[in-house]
Symmetry: C2
DNA sequence: ATATCATTTGAACAGTTGTTCAAATGATAC
DNA sequence: GTATCATTTGAACAACTGTTCAAATGATAT
């Protein structure tokens, strides 16, 4: 067990740091990460897959996903803030739907990655 | 402020729950979510984008990303366990690279989603 | 063997996330 | 108005995540 004092001097010190990515990508980095974060929870992913077939009420979603209504509602609010889903109210019932079809493409590409 | 006792009885009660997704998708749900989780951190995403241009050493990556070597190394171990990156050792230096090009496709699809 | 550099590893710690519970809100019917 | 159903909301709490720090390991050179 040697007591090494971290000198923190490496050859890279002389290299001037610069991003390997373009400025516009840099700007979108956080936005992209946030998008992926919404897809990174199994239950939320399941929820999105349910909605990819048709619009559904919160109550039905909870039933089919096997979780509480409250939990689904919280997830839906998160997805709504991220503009991944939208909804319409019909009387007492709220029907949620996917906002566009890009989510499908994302999942499809990910699925290809997994299956190899 | 009414004290409502949750009756937890809704019309959906009569509906038998079934997944809206196919069995094989159900199996891959966790795997897919895990994949997205690795892309959900801005710094890790930045790291992957750096590697999408060429292989790089840990030291250089830390320099360019503006974080400590330790932090980068931890991230790389995570990505390595997920088989998203691999590496080769050359003397004292470890060079990391992307494991395949699916990551590019994923990022590209996500980027399209963001730009609309 | 010792020194140094590049990298890894484990522990601790702060920040974030998702669920649950209880209560509130919105809408319809009586 | 009250009752009921569907949904939302906020607070609390446990679980997870990523960073930092210190120490260890791996490799090369002297």
């Amino acid at each position: 067990m040697k007591k090494l004092k971290s000198t923190a001097v490496c050859p890279c010190e002389t290299i001037q740091p610069h991003p390997f990515i373009s400025p516009e990508d840099k700007d979108h980095l956080q936005v992209l990460a946030d998008l992926f974060k919404h897809l990174s929870d199994p239950r939320r992913l399941n929820l999105l897959l349910c909605l990819s077939h048709a619009e559904h009420s919160v109550c039905i979603l909870a039933k089919h996903l096997g979780v509480t209504v409250s939990a689904v509602s919280h997830q839906l609010q998160t997805l709504r803030r991220a503009r991944l889903v939208s909804f319409r109210r019909e009387g007492k019932v709220c029907f949620y739907r996917l906002n566009d079809n890009h989510v499908h493409k994302l999942i499809q590409t990910a699925r290809e990655h997994v299956n190899e």
